[in-house]
């Protein structure tokens, strides 16, 4: 494996800007969680209370880990943060290995490297070594963050080691997947699907009898029980699987050509289907994937929020500090909770809407809009096609959230009437969501270069107002500047029609103004 060391040094140089951020992210997760948990549940009674509430709540267990971890405060930290830190570590490994193996082959850079005095297996070995170094660094940083915030040293060492061993599994998995697929996208997609499956399996296992958790690399990590028994042997499972996958990757590599995969990429259609006939159809075709992703994400979020709806009343009574986030205080806790969650969904839907409107700008700057606008498609028709995705798509993701929340909550209280009710509740926030998108259309029309920055600042502003206006006592005018302030807070308050009508009229006016700007300006600048 000639040239591994110089190549590894080169890879480290290529990663010097992004790798520190991944490591910082993992460290901060552990640091913040450890400090916060010790603040909230530092006493034996608080921890005992937590065990009682959470032990009975399947939704929290599904999001976190096995309840056996709750034996000590350190275990509580692992319980809350391990699965999320694992996701970050897995993605870090996926990109570290993927970028320097399949992505380099697809772009042709690998050909240049391999033409030098570099062995066939060297790029793969260097990429795996790079990921290994990153995992060791992540493990050490997690150990330092946990031990540094006062958690026991032995458990902290196991915590870091478990996360590092988990990272190695995903590095090796990515290496093997990179041999199978010819396209980088298919490789990343497959690894991400494995990560999703790993999370789902451990969620199902932890809620059930724990068997399924043993099918998940995240489960192997959590079942070392740091601070709650300190079992070292599950690390061997991770290391064995990583070695196996790594060997498989090397074996597959020696049986294929540079640039080729084991699975040929799926070819597209030779002719367009009858559906792909105008600019609007094109916009939907390009954005249906993103819409499905957002809708699925909000559906899951809805299910997560809805499943703890019934116990929220009890939860708030036991954690009075939560009550300050609920606008109605503790009088009408459930409806206040539903209003707050719908508000969160509206924020996410607004972010989706903004990203969708900004796709128009991306089409423009890439030159693809020019291809369409040089045909019989007018600017009005083109913009309408783009905006139809934003307008309908935001409604779809809100309804998906409402359906998820209604389904999960309805099942816990045996009332499936909650499904249409909460879907309707979510839709009440649609005009506010549209308004954020309409502001984006306005800046897209008149200040195209600044559109993305301005639009995301608006979203961030709305988020700050929605989440912190009450707790930080922000002045009234600053709240009124947020479109969501004017959305009636159903189901806590009654549905008021007048503000919704005003919002919709405002949306129409802003979109019309944005179009007027687009009609007057140069395309592509």
């Amino acid at each position: 494996m000639t040239g591994t060391v110089p190549l590894l040094r080169f890879l480290l140089r290529r990663e010097r800007r992004s790798l520190p951020w991944w490591l910082l992210g993992v460290t901060l997760l552990v640091l913040v969680q450890s400090t916060q948990s010790q603040d909230l549940y530092g006493t034996a009674e608080a921890l005992q209370r937590l065990r009682q509430t959470i032990g009975a709540n399947t939704a929290v267990i599904a999001m976190s880990g096995p309840t056996g971890l709750l034996a000590s405060i350190g275990g509580e930290v692992v319980f809350e943060i391990f699965a999320f830190a694992a996701i970050v570590v897995a993605l870090m490994n996926m990109f570290l290995v993927g970028r320097h193996t399949r992505a380099d082959e697809e772009s042709g850079r690998a050909e240049l490297v391999r033409s030098a005095r570099v062995g066939r297996r060297t790029p793969l070995a260097a990429a795996l070594l790079l990921a290994g170094l990153a995992d060791v660094a992540a493990g050490l940083l997690v150990f330092a963050a946990a031990a540094g915030t006062g958690l026991p040293v032995a458990g902290s060492a196991l915590f870091g080691a478990a996360l590092a061993a988990f990272g190695l599994v995903f590095a090796a998995l990515t290496a093997a997947t990179a041999q199978v697929f010819e396209s980088t996208r298919a490789m990343y997609g497959t690894v991400a699907a494995f990560l999703g499956a790993a999370f789902a399996l451990r969620a199902a296992g932890d809620v059930g009898d724990g068997t399924l958790s043993w099918a998940s690399p995240i489960g192997w990590g959590q079942r070392t029980y740091p601070y709650a028994g300190d079992r070292w042997w599950p690390l061997l499972v991770s290391l064995a699987v990583a070695t196996l996958l790594g060997s498989a990757a090397v074996g597959l590599l020696t049986h294929r050509d540079l640039g080729a995969g084991l699975v040929a990429p799926r070819p597209g259609r030779a002719r367009a289907s009858a559906l792909l006939r105008d600019a609007q159809a094109l916009a939907w075709r390009l954005q249906r994937g993103a819409l499905l992703g957002w809708a699925a994400g909000l559906l899951l979020l809805g299910i997560a929020y809805g499943s703890i709806g019934e116990s929220i009343d009890q939860y708030v009574r036991e954690n009075p500090e939560i009550a300050q986030f609920l606008t109605g205080g503790s009088d009408d806790i459930l409806n206040a909770y539903l209003a707050v969650t719908a508000g969160m969904a509206a924020l996410l839907a607004a972010a989706y809407g903004v990203s969708t409107v900004l796709r128009a700008r991306a089409e423009e700057t890439s030159g693809r809009a020019e291809m369409v606008l040089a045909t019989g498609t007018s600017r009005r028709v083109w913009l309408a096609g783009q905006l139809s995705v934003a307008l309908i798509g935001t409604a779809v993701v809100l309804v998906a959230f409402g359906l998820g929340e209604g389904l999960a909550y309805g099942l816990t209280v045996s009332d499936l009437g909650q499904i249409p009710r909460l879907a309707g509740v979510a839709l009440a926030y649609l005009p506010g969501v549209w308004l954020v998108g309409a502001v984006t259309v306005l800046v897209f029309g008149w200040l195209p270069r600044a559109a993305a920055v301005i639009a995301w600042v608006v979203v961030a502003y709305c988020a700050v107002i929605t989440m912190f206006a009450d707790s930080f006592d922000l002045p009234g005018w600053s709240r009124q500047a947020s479109p969501f302030f004017h959305s009636p807070r159903v189901p806590l308050n009654d549905l008021a029609v007048a503000p919704l009508v005003v919002l919709v009229l405002l949306v129409a006016a802003l979109v019309a103004a944005g179009y007027a700007g687009l009609r007057r300006r140069d395309v592509g600048y």
């Binding site: 597209g268 259609r269 367009a272 792909l276 693809r368 291809m371 606008l373 040089a374 045909t375």
Partner: protein, 298 residues
Amino acid sequence: MSRESAIAITGLHKSFGATRALDGLDLTVARGEVHGFLGPNGSGKTTAIRVVLGLLRADAGEVRLLGGDPWRDADQLHRRLAYVPGDVTLWPGISGGEVIDLLGRLRGGINRQRRDELLEQFDLDPRKKARTYSKGNRQKVALIAALASDAELLLLDEPTSGLDPLMESAFQRCIQDVKRQGRTVLLSSHILAEVEALGDRVSIIRLGRTVESGTLSELRHLTRTSIAVETTRPVTDIARLPGVHDVVAADHHARFDVDTAQLDAVIRELAPLGVRTMTSSPPTLEELFLRHYGEAPS
């Protein structure tokens, strides 16, 4: 109206901030002709085409496209033309065949038989996703979509810059077919030979301004041919002939440039000397600019 020029531009100005892209451009493209639009990179060709398409708004000057106002009536006029950008970007997840059909439908119909013939001629796999196409293949997608349409005007911005020589000759055959059908082509290029091979008339643009315009024979004075010759008897006084420049002669070898108009006379002079080998090469745009405008195009 039908006799009006396909494109008529007079005194067109367009600036982007402090950058002056077009500075009094004139361009007239008659119906049914292949018009070469020649200029070095950065001279304003693409900007001019974008103004003609109504994608950019003219700061000053008059622009008529197919008898209409390209800014006001863009979508109506676009139904009658097909455009191939110089740098073709496509939608990564959509196959080449789908893009061709989509662009055809957006232009109001596509000739399916011609589409399939063109795919064959240009040797393009329509099932590949656009993200896997090279620059040349992306260009082929846009070219096939344009050539398969029945548009009366084709606007082609450096259409062969990514094509290999084999495909370039396929392209030239296609443009000759288009010409026979009586359609109009505006062909921008920075390669003189390409425009010479296809163009009826040529406009040369430099720094956003038209510097020459006319038929190819009118512009003959601009072109010189470089000749290298080996003869049995020594080449002596070739330099005294009119139209011969930059002679380097030694015994039986000579290299020189000759004005295209004087080519015939020079060949007659050489023939009695017993020509053993002779190579001639057309002048490049770079040489032309150096000679006529005293500077190399950037």
